[in-house]
């Protein structure tokens, strides 16, 4: 099984979320920086929910709907510190049934 065939969406589909529509709790400060200055873009590999995707033009697109609120992206983005990272508003985000 190669890494690319694993679909994280199928895993996330089992989870329960209350999405705070229009209010993303994590955002990229300067998208240009990801595209031009970040060499590794490790957020696109390390995020366990696959929230970060690398576009063909080198841009990183963030969609937080499947976020598991672990904090990985915030910590791996240590070279450029290019994320605004907060927890979702109370009651929103991932709601673990089992944890």
């Amino acid at each position: 099984m190669s890494a690319t065939t694993v679909k994280v969406e199928e895993k996330l589909y089992q989870n329960r979320y209350r999405v705070d529509a229009g209010r993303s709790h994590v955002s990229i400060r300067d998208p240009e920086l990801c595209a031009s200055r970040c060499q590794t873009r490790q957020c696109t590999v390390c995020c366990p929910a696959g929230c970060y995707t690398l576009e063909g033009n080198g841009r990183v697109v963030l969609i937080t709907d499947g976020c598991l609120e672990c904090g990985t992206c915030r910590i791996v983005c240590d070279e450029h510190r290019n994320l605004d990272w907060e927890y979702p508003r109370g009651g929103f985000g991932i709601l673990f049934k089992f944890g």
């Binding site: 890494a3 672990c70 791996v76 991932i94 049934k97 089992f98």
Partner: protein, 432 residues
């Protein structure tokens, strides 16, 4: 004037619940804030509950706590791609109540713990995220929540807000976590009929098995896998240091899928229905990564304080013990009518230094670094061990002496004689 409490506890995990429970039992006016819909809805753990820490807080917890299975068997597997060599410890002694360890499902367990906190008299408010601490100079005087008019004041604030410890970080009490000090773990829960689990693991009703795994499943990263039996489900997952994840191109979910496909693991979860996928950071930096844990009007407990013994897979017990100890320190000062100054709260750290919490972390303070810099423990050795077992066990007409020579040759070829001695020394240093 906003309402004022004696103490505010942020977070309703094991540390926060232990703290809030102890404070409320001690007669203080306590507010506990939790950002999840219910206590447990944001919390992730393997999960194994160590009875001792909880017993010291709620002696009769077994009466009604939602416990899955008590553990009677511990397996340790060292895996290569196709096989594993391992040890098993199974004892009838672990089948004698009161049981020492249980598997739990955190969303259920935390809800129960929180109900006990509320019975003890604390006010617990969920669906409320604390955005920052309110400071008067250097002194914490309360919290700012995301609710309307959300400033709440207290004489002391206990931060049990989890591994990311955002509140202390924003207040400048400690710097950002380093990727070498946390492990990223992903896990799934698979549901199976109770009888299937019991026959697959050779266990009776309420009896459970733990499998801890290391080796090639972490693909050269410093990390381990686990599989725990619950009543009607199996949780399994894998965690590796985030600094290692950063340096390679495998996604955490691909790593988990590969582990699930291992020929020794796949049959154990065969036919199960996966019902949840979770990820969590585990603070594994050890003794030297513990940040300042007290100051003017504040204390840190649990994961936020890096209180995890990674080598022994202990965390929730350290969380409960630090939460309880923080609360006791507060209660003692309150009883003596003393202020919650940094000078007075320093007693918290002293108490932890005298307890198993800091003693254990200190004992293994070198381990994170040693395993970090020596990936052979996760790649070369598992392979060599498995190959050695295969060579010895396979019957093929080759005499045993020749087989032993071949095994020795393999070890020396891969690590050299001095390398082997050096590795043995490193292992000893890590566990010394």
């Amino acid at each position: 004037m906003a309402e004022k409490f004696d103490a505010i506890v942020v977070g309703a995990g094991p540390a926060g619940n232990a703290a809030a429970y102890t404070l409320a039992k001690g007669g203080l006016k306590v507010l506990q804030l939790e950002r999840g819909e219910y206590p447990g809805s944001k919390n992730v753990q393997g999960a194994i509950l160590y009875s001792d820490a909880l017993e010291r807080i709620i002696a009769n917890f077994r009466d009604d706590a939602p416990l899955e299975r008590h553990l009677i068997e511990q397996r340790v597997w060292i895996l290569d791609d196709e096989s594993y060599v391992g040890t098993t410890y199974r004892s009838a002694q672990f089948n004698q109540p009161p049981y020492n360890r249980y598997t739990i499902i955190r969303a259920h367990f935390d809800k129960w713990f929180s109900s006990r906190v509320q019975q003890a008299g604390a006010l617990v408010i969920c669906e409320t995220t604390v955005n920052e601490l309110l400071l008067d100079g250097k002194r914490v005087v309360g919290v700012r929540t995301d609710r309307q008019g959300g400033d709440i004041y207290a004489d002391v604030v206990i931060l049990a807000d989890g591994v990311n410890s955002l509140l202390a970080r924003k207040a400048g009490f400690h710097p950002e976590i380093k990727s070498k000090d946390v492990a990223l773990a992903v896990k799934e829960i698979h549901f199976l009929p109770q009888e299937t689990i019991e026959s697959r693991f050779n266990i009776g009703e309420d009896e459970g098995v733990v499998i801890e795994m290391a080796g090639k499943i972490s693909q050269g990263m410093m990390g381990t896998g686990f599989l725990y039996t619950n009543k009607e489900s199996i949780t399994l997952g894998i965690g590796c240091m985030l600094s290692d994840f950063k340096c390679q191109r495998t996604t955490p979910y691909a790593l988990l899928e590969k582990m699930k496909a291992h020929p020794a693991i796949r049959p154990l979860i065969e036919g199960g229905e996966m019902k949840e996928y979770a990820a969590h950071l585990i603070p594994e930096g050890g003794y030297d990564a513990v940040p300042p844990i007290y100051g003017e009007g504040w204390l840190i407990a649990g994961d936020a304080g890096m209180f995890v013994n990674g080598l022994h897979r202990e965390g929730s017990n350290l969380a409960m013990t630090t939460g309880q100890t923080a609360a006791r320190t507060v209660l003692d000062l309150a009883a003596a009518g003393k202020p919650f100054s940094a000078k007075n709260l320093a007693r918290y750290r002293e108490r932890l230094d005298d307890s198993f919490v800091m003693k254990d972390l200190k004992k293994y303070r070198r381990a994170p670094e040693i395993f970090h810099d020596n990936s052979q423990f996760f790649t070369t050795y598992p392979e060599l061990l498995n190959r050695a077992a295969h060579t010895l066990i396979r019957v093929d007409g080759v005499d045993k002496k020749t087989k032993e020579r071949e095994i020795r040759r393999n070890f020396v070829a891969r690590r050299s004689a001095w390398g082997l001695i050096g590795d043995a020394f490193k292992m000893w240093r890590a566990f010394e």
